[in-house]
Symmetry: C2
Subunit: 323 residues, 2 copies
């Protein structure tokens, strides 16, 4: 790809809310030429149902039915089943909405019938009119666990039940050694003109994707043929817009800043997209060998999503390597 030509086919590596918003902006520009590779290591079984929080947040967002105030679930959602589940003695800290339940019911039935997670996900997306394919990072089961001062916890225990309050000392992805990239993820990376790392949590959203056997190698192959990797900082002014990434950076021994994020992506990314409030970090990040693009990275509304996506595509089009 020559410099200053916007990429036609893009792969976005994404977690939940931040990933979903940028995915939405990119879908507006690229339609089905965008493929979103989504983290599945925070999937969880609730009430015997297979729940895929990151996938579903991206899916509902791309379908235009996401609840914007919550950052998860469906707009206009009701909770009649959840209230009844509680009456029946079920734990209530992970509440699933009535419409959302339909997704998990269909997914669970399909998976039990032996269908591949990637196929089930695509059929759900198509039923909701989603243009850009959202690809689970793997069809294998991977589960993030975090070590706190009280021991290892399943991710959603930490994230939802404990409101991300404990300090995270260590992170592991149970099952990752048996996880491989899918043919769909492999093809998307192979065909991509650029790869974008969403402003998602580097540790628990992006790292699991990169840890799937074959994904980082495919990403490096893409870089080698000139497709740039553009990472967008999810830390602005030292704070995560959503979630515990800032506190995780600190408790895991990193700078709780966009610089700390940039260091994590050294050797993986070519371009680093930095919010204007962090412009002073540009020299330090450039010194890591990353080309830095400074812009407004807050996606306050649909227009903000589309604008940041345009900036990201322009940054990718400017070429794969630091000037």
């Amino acid at each position: 790809m020559s410099a200053n030509v916007a990429p036609e086919r893009v792969v976005l590596l994404a977690g939940g809310v931040g990933g979903a918003r940028l995915a939405h902006g990119l879908q507006e520009h690229l339609g089905s030429n965008l493929a979103v590779v989504v983290n599945t290591a925070d999937d969880v079984e609730r009430h015997g149902l297979a729940v895929s929080p990151d996938h579903d947040t991206v899916m509902y967002t791309l379908a235009g039915i996401a609840n914007r105030a919550w950052g998860w679930g469906i707009e206009g959602e009701t909770f009649a089943a959840a209230a009844q589940l509680e009456k029946l003695g079920e734990e209530s800290w992970f509440r699933l909405g009535d419409r959302d339940l339909a997704t998990h019911i269909v997914r669970t039935a399909r998976l039990r019938a032996g269908d591949r997670p990637t196929d089930v996900a695509r059929d759900l997306q198509r039923a909701l009119g989603v243009q850009s394919p959202i690809l689970p990072m793997t069809d294998a089961m991977v589960r993030t666990e975090v070590r706190t001062d009280d021991g290892w916890l399943a991710f959603q225990d930490y994230f939802v039940r404990l409101h991300q309050e404990p300090d995270v000392r260590e992170i592991r992805f149970v099952g990752i050694e048996d996880a491989a990239l899918t043919p769909e993820v492999g093809a998307a990376l192979e065909e991509s003109d650029a790869i974008v790392i969403a402003p998602s949590n580097p540790f628990v959203s992006v790292q699991p994707i990169l840890a799937v056997a074959g994904i980082e190698a495919a990403l490096q192959t893409a870089r080698a043929r000139g497709a740039p990797v553009v990472a967008v900082s999810g830390i602005i002014g030292g704070k995560a817009l959503k979630g515990p990434a800032d506190r995780m950076l600190a408790s895991l021994g990193h700078d709780s800043s966009a610089l700390g994020v940039a260091r994590l992506y050294t050797g993986i990314a070519d371009v680093f997209v930095l919010d204007a409030v962090d412009a002073a970090l540009e020299p330090a990040i450039a010194a890591l060998g990353l080309r830095v693009v400074v812009t407004d990275t807050i996606m306050a509304d649909d227009a903000g999503r589309v604008r940041l996506a345009a900036d990201v595509l322009a940054a990718a089009g400017a070429g794969p390597r630091p000037a």
Copy 2:
């Protein structure tokens, strides 16, 4: 048990709506001394969830949360999940309410974990505050199928999807040869002072229960020691109050009347409870060897349920055999 003493411990054999209403009346008199043995041959899997229509109708009724207008489901029910399931491409002819879904979700998870249907049912009932145990007729899987002029149909296909419109030529209970009564059903029958057959469909509600290995033998043992079997007609003036029992009687070659029902229970029942509108049938039914009790069998409201239950208990207390 001596004559004219109301029974203390009663077993009710029940299908759905009619069974649920009489169960409710009997629960008011007997509390936990009533055990309801419920048909499970019309259970069905929908969207991968285990649904027990007769059990749940009885459970919701005994819990005081049944929807009285529909005869199934929960009062004040909503259908957000069902609408979403339809959007996701699922068949929509068997709509499950949002609160009702909670029951099926919990049941399915427990059954998949290996718990016995009887234990799962009792825990659901307890969570909803049901006094009288509702016992699945068996822990095995039995499925009613009906033969129409277009071939064999799964029961809920016929009952819900086709609105009971085709004529039923034959009925079979798939899996019945491997079904045995549970220890709980065995104990309830052994301890009973009287057994009541609800005004449910004789062919698809009562017959599957009696066809479970050990149940009819246990019932005959109870009769032999003096516990009477009281059957309540579900046909009034030649019509079923609910469901297709009247048309099934005709299409299967029986009289579509309370007399036709009474003939089916000859050799099983001691007492036959007949509605006053059918009083003219009394001599013909008595000629079958059944003691006939004529009363108002329509349970229009709670008072009607309690009154019919009292009449049934009085009929049982009057002794096991025709005078």
